[in-house]
């Protein structure tokens, strides 16, 4: 205790910059955002106030609840698909690839796309899924369909596909780490006790990887939940997500108070989710 006190000035000097950073660029902006959520708007301007009209409007007007529910649905779908794709991939990398070198190489190839611009990666899917796109060319040239289909692009499926592609590394990374940390001895022990590979997976590997599943799912969900590029690039007329709504309120609609109220709600939703996931993670935490 005394030691801590004696070193406090040094401690303060070391952490004052990041602290100021957090205060100035996180706490203050959030406080402003929450405050503006209570302001009044009189087109085209807005005035400081304290009233709940913006929140009332969000809850009363079905356009906002529709979009929030849609966003939750898309984020959940992306999370589930990313898990279904990412888990086998991480499992394959960790347990099937014997060579450390090959494993690291493949793992890097999962991560490397993150270095490519997000926009470029989303745009790629436009090229693949379009009416004149690569997928249709393939289908037509193999004779599977007679004319190009327009069912691939500009709808919610295209958004889910794009978002899964973009965010799957965030699922694979924690899963890879968690699976890689499971001692191989435990799998041997399970088989030694008469349990085959399938049940070994369900009774040993999967429970021990839950931390990675929770971490990956949380990241994927939050990232998809806040996305606004996929709806613009590959979404159709029914693709508007919460982030697009926010963009509109701060942009074209010029309604910052409503936008702030909406952003505050979204922030609360995400915080609740993070709280739940960290509780889930703590409950399942195990010393390996």
């Amino acid at each position: 205790m005394t030691l801590t006190r004696r070193t406090f000035p040094g401690f303060a000097a070391l952490f004052s910059l990041p602290l100021a950073w957090v205060l100035l660029l996180m706490v203050v902006p959030y406080a402003i955002m929450v405050a503006v959520g209570f302001w009044t708007r009189q087109f085209p301007l807005f005035y400081p106030d304290f009233q709940f009209g913006n929140y009332a409007q969000i809850l009363a007007d079905p356009q906002y609840t529709t979009v929030i529910l849609r966003t939750l649905k898309i984020a959940a779908l992306v999370t589930v698909c990313a898990l279904l794709l990412g888990y086998p991939l991480a499992y394959f990398l960790v347990f099937t690839i014997r060579s450390q070198k090959v494993r690291n190489l493949l793992y890097m190839s999962v991560i490397v796309p993150l270095w490519v611009s997000y926009l470029l990666r989303a745009y790629t899917w436009k090229i693949i899924l379009g009416t004149d796109g690569a997928l249709n060319s393939l289908l037509v040239s193999t004779g599977l369909v007679s004319a190009p289909l327009d069912i691939f692009l500009y709808n919610q499926t295209a958004m889910v596909v794009t978002l899964v592609y973009i965010f799957v590394p965030f699922m694979v990374m924690p899963l890879f780490t968690v699976l890689d940390n499971i001692p191989r001895r435990l799998l041997e022990a399970s088989e030694d006790l008469g349990v085959g590979p399938f049940m070994t997976f369900w009774k040993v590997i999967f429970p021990l990887s839950l931390g990675g599943v929770v971490a990956g799912a949380t990241m994927t969900f939050c990232l998809s939940f806040g996305d606004f590029v996929a709806p613009v690039l590959v979404g159709g007329p029914d693709g508007t997500m919460v982030a697009n709504l926010l963009q509109t309120q701060f942009g074209a609609a010029l309604n910052w108070p409503l936008g702030s109220a909406l952003a505050t709600l979204v922030l609360a939703l995400v915080l609740i989710l993070l709280q739940l996931s960290s509780r889930l993670d703590r409950a399942g935490r195990i010393d390996l």
């Binding site: 001692p183 001895r185 435990l186 041997e188 022990a189 399970s190 088989e191 030694d192 006790l193 008469g194 349990v195 085959g196 049940m199 009774k203 040993v204 429970p207 021990l208 399942g284 195990i286 010393d287 390996l288």
Partner: protein
Amino acid sequence: MTSSPIVALDGVAKRYGAFVALHETDLAIAEGEFVTLLGPSGCGKTTTLRLIGGFEQASDGRIAIAGQDVTESPPYRRPVNTVFQDYALFPHMSVAENIGYGLSVRSGRLEKTERRRRVAEALALVGLEGMADRRPGALSGGQRQRVAMARAVVRRPRVLLLDEPLSALDVKLREGMQVELKRLHRELGITFLMVTHDQTEALALSDRIVVMREGRIAQIGSPTDLYDHPATPYVADFIGAANLLEAEALGREGDVCAFRLVNGATLRSRRREAAGATTGSRVTLGVRPERMMAARPETGAANALDCIVMERLFHGDCLRIELAPEGGGKPLFAELARTALPATVSAGSRLAVHIDPDDVMVFDAGGGK
């Protein structure tokens, strides 16, 4: 071994590319035996155990357990269970769940009540009643070891494989667990096959010891056999300790053979294997430090070596003396009762050590390094 062995290796070998972990090996273990695979790291003992457990596939040869060829069987189809070196307890399960794990699956499916009874029985066997609901993370090293034991024996395997089971414990605990292991072996009546690099452990526990070296079996025998009649200088040095001396056979005088050491001194051996040494051949003599006795110099005691004391180390019950033979040669170690040596004998003093001809072991110079 008249009855058919419970474990039989027939020409089993394991290679990783060009590296040979285990050369072609035959081994038979009888039902109910406590057998230890002993050797330094890299000698192939763990590979042998893992081949029997099914965690490695043999490159050559056949493995049979309880009369069944299991060479190709996965671990979960073999009637053996393993106590792993680091215990490999499932961290997300309670002690009871760990122990009951192998009883809940197809191959060992039991009724719930029967399963519970068996788990309780196993807990009692290792003295962990009341710990059933703890997580492995909340147990001490010794307790984890017991859980690992209980988990392995609860399925009533024909053979229990133990991979360095005591190496993670501290010295005090290890000695207690040795007694425990011996008791378990007696009570369960099943075959134990243990891997260790600790010769004291092997000597204390085993019915038979398989000494291994560089992927081959160096010698198999009971602890006393190996101690009294090591087949090679390597085994002599590994089981207990031995001073190894280069010598030349001088010839026989009745039932005693004489050998000349490099410094010109003569040692005699009355052991059986000495009879095989032809005159003039080069041999290695082995003398255990604890079989050397202090003789007063210049008394002309029979079968003695004149030496200079280089170091005198106090070991509690005994003294450990480092000696340089007069006239040259490798230094020797002797273990003497602390009363056998006057306090005046210290570094620099002259000391003759006397060795009973029955204790001078003779190895063919060509027979292993």
